[in-house]
Symmetry: C2
Subunit: 513 residues, 2 copies
């Protein structure tokens, strides 16, 4: 953070609901917000993120482009009323985040900030020396239009990340695409084909639109990608597990105009859509038991994406073709999101009136004819960039643990080295520890001497459980030949080293951890 | 904390109301707790302190006396719905505390822990080099029977601390005593004297007891010490500013038995109490306008403290006699409480069942006849010890600020030294800063180079506002004679020093700051 000129702040965990109403997020977060009132009945919430608070603070302080770019970060607790807290610190209702907020006066400058933050976050995750993935991502509820996610693949992950086995294409499920082959499926043109196609039923959030999603019979409902449906019909209520009760109960609600939308996967082809539109018995447009008069309902058909491309409604599956390279196959991996960078634009600065004065020619570019010195007022261009601190602990623990215990990367280990003395070697272990801690031959080591009054085997097991990167044991080899035993479980290495060589040897191990 | 073997933990800010019910504190804290429910309607609160959480955690982990003493601390946010948040960070609803919790298996060991913590806290406050006071204190709502408060005198303080101008007696208002001179006031014995005595009216929390507090006519209601009344009548509701409405409205509430208690300050003497008991017109026992039938009310009289001493109901005033030495006079000072140590005993370990197994002979002392090896189960002896981290910032700011700006003690200054270059001396200021930061002649200095593009006078004013302990200026003296100007506003010193002497000179200033 210091390399990119970011300053540390500490914002209140308690935020006001009125502030969140100004940015229209109070309802969006809904039941995930812990809400409460103080003794004067003023409504508050426990902040799950701090865009509102930081933007308000900055809008009161920064008035001129001369004070920009501004980069502020904090490391603190966040709160989210998770419906199912699980996997310990991986998904908990109180968690630790590092969040960075950036402020620029132009889009160009904000995008340069974004690239600097991306580079800094990559350097940070590089230090863990773990195979993390950077996925192109949609920005979801936060807003804005440029974002990346940092994922660690792990079996208990809750996100699906798609990467190519040949090129560097990586995307999260929401944005991931496959290379489409419109010719590979033979389009059905008969009424009978319509009956055998798969259909998934949905409903809009306001219950005024009923939705049929048509896909080839060789797939199932589980293959439907709800993000793809939302890309053509944003009003879809994706929180429902079963929407058929709404279809059945809709018949009596004649107050509002009803609409039926058929969304057709490209694999079924246009003859399928024609068969759907012209079929003699419209009953199969409805789920079993629904009693609706289709003649009074407007029917629509969606067969292409918003930019006219073929409409792919199915999730990526292992082995699908990479959209970016010729030969690559896609792989779907369970992963945990550890970090996220967002370019927000003016999503928060506009409603919260975080404006700065800028010379017109700085905003309008070289071609501007604005007189030098002529000023204008613009909302700041913002970015927000989070790292899940407590979540990293959980994800790394899961990723590296083996049957003997945890394994910590050097960068986040409680100590780089533990020194464990055998019986009667307590005094000598102090000398060895001090030698390592103050070594001039290499970087000083961050070490712990386990001087508890337990047996050597007990301490060795405990060191494995805790997962120190390097374990130094003063045992028989020390008593007979002045050799230290150096264990590194992650690298499956055990060596015996003389004291003089120990600092260099351990440092050489640590560069791999 | 490391010197007393304390380990750092981080507890959740969200605590469960059910847990606080087990220790009977949910009602005691009342409206000061921020309470809320999660999406399943489970009741939670934002913890203002963590005895319940830490005791529960320890009770699940520690089962044997062999794992004691145990000392755990955290530095984190606390929450309190203050009725009047004020003075910035001095009294805010979200604040930063360092809280230490100690666990022992015997009272003797717990008291030894208490003394170690007191010594550590004194060393910590000593480092601020400010005239703090350590007061004997009551333990209030926390419970337990041994506690000390650490106060910093300041005009915006909200506590009164009393100290002797001759001996080392210091106490907070609640516990402070004065040397009583029962002979100094001539006791009134006439009915007329009763009429001229001062009376302060109170009422019990359950409204069943009406309270008259009688004191000499030369004092006023403002001189009444509510702690002294509570010491003989704990059920007093001290939160009421005016209790007379309850006196007036009590007449109709005949459901519960009524009681009238007269509490008489020792200065009025026993003849006064007799005059009160035998007076022919009991009307003056009631406030004006109260319409109560005194014949149906039980009347009680309290004239001595619970241990039989003369009953002093008045606050200490400047110049009162010290209770501990012969010649000393007491002084009352406004102060801010920065820290607090408590011996809690089993206040939390009993209700939360935090028990350990101990050999009987360790608990029962040397005289025990218990067989060696015979075990027993005891609740742990606890202590809790807090330091108001954000409050220290506010108190010190107020204590040391002058008309030019803040002044920070070396121990908590953002930087010990700021280096400010004059025009054209930017490069040379880098060399000077690096020389100071890496000086081998003394301890390396923690410094900031102000390389912003502002004028020298602007930066000097800004440095005064921020309050760095030492300011080093490269100005005219540097250009002509290679002399650095060293300013220390708190010590009112300005010197011109050659670079070679600078580290030693600055360190010598810092030892006084």
């Amino acid at each position: 953070m210091s390399q990119i000129g970011a300053s540390k702040v500490a914002l209140s965990s308690i935020s006001s609901q009125a502030l969140w109403q100004q940015t229209n997020r109070l309802e969006g977060y809904g039941p995930e917000l812990f809400r409460f009132a103080d003794r004067k009945e003023v409504p508050y919430l426990l902040a799950p993120t701090h865009e509102e608070e930081i933007t308000t603070l900055v809008s009161k302080t920064i008035k001129s482009y001369k004070n920009l770019p501004l980069r502020l970060y904090q490391i603190g607790r966040k709160y989210r009323d998770e419906i199912r807290p699980r996997h310990g610190v991986l998904r908990s209702r109180e968690f630790l985040m590092k969040d960075l907020y950036t402020f620029d006066y132009s889009v160009q400058s904000a995008l340069s900030t974004y690239e600097q933050v991306r580079a800094a976050y990559s350097r940070l995750f590089d230090e863990l020396k773990l195979p993390y993935l950077v996925a192109e991502a949609s920005s979801g509820d936060i807003g804005g239009d440029l974002s990346h996610e940092y994922h660690l693949p792990t079996s208990i992950g809750e996100d699906n990340v798609i990467n190519c086995d040949s090129c560097d294409y990586v995307a999260n499920e929401e944005l991931a695409a496959t290379r489409l082959n419109p010719s590979e499926d033979t389009p059905p043109a008969e009424y009978g084909d319509v009956l055998t196609a798969g259909v998934w039923r949905g409903v809009s959030k306001d219950r005024s639109t009923l939705i049929n999603v048509w896909y080839p019979a060789s797939y199932s409902d589980d293959d439907i990608n709800s993000y793809a449906i939302k890309s053509v019909l944003p009003e879809l209520d994706s929180s429902l597990i079963d929407s058929t009760p709404f279809w059945s109960s809709t018949s009596s609600k004649t107050r509002q105009p009803l609409r039926l939308v058929n969304i057709v996967d490209y694999r079924l082809g246009s003859p399928f859509t024609i068969a759907l539109e012209t079929n003699p018995n419209p009953k199969f447009l409805l789920p079993e038991g629904a009693d609706l008069d289709l003649s009074i309902i407007t029917s629509d058909y969606i067969t292409t994406s918003t930019n006219g491309d073929p409409l792919n409604l199915l999730r990526i599956r292992d082995g699908d073709d990479c959209p970016r390279c010729e030969s690559g196959k896609l792989k779907v991996r369970k992963a945990i999101e550890l970090g996220h960078t967002f370019h927000l634009g003016t999503r928060y600065s506009e409603p919260l009136e975080a404006h700065v004065q800028v010379p017109k020619n700085l905003i309008e570019g070289d071609g501007s004819t604005a007189k030098s010195g002529s000023m204008t007022t613009v909302p700041m261009q913002m970015g927000c960039h989070g790292i899940g601190v407590s979540r990293i602990i959980g994800a790394v623990a899961d990723h590296l643990a083996d049957s003997k215990g945890l394994n910590w990367p050097r960068a986040i280990a409680p100590f780089e080295v533990v020194v464990i003395p055998g019986r009667g070697l307590d005094k000598e272990s102090v000398i060895v520890s001090e030698y390592l801690a103050n070594s001039q031959a290499s970087r000083p080591l961050d070490l712990l001497l386990d001087d508890r009054s337990e047996s050597l085997p007990w301490k060795m097991r405990d060191a494995d459980l805790i997962g120190y990167p390097v374990v130094v044991i003063l045992g028989k080899g020390w008593s007979t030949d002045r050799l230290c035993e150096v264990q590194c479980r992650r690298l499956s290495s055990v060596s015996h080293v003389v004291l003089e060589d120990l600092p260099m040897y351990i440092n050489q191990l640590l560069t791999q951890l």
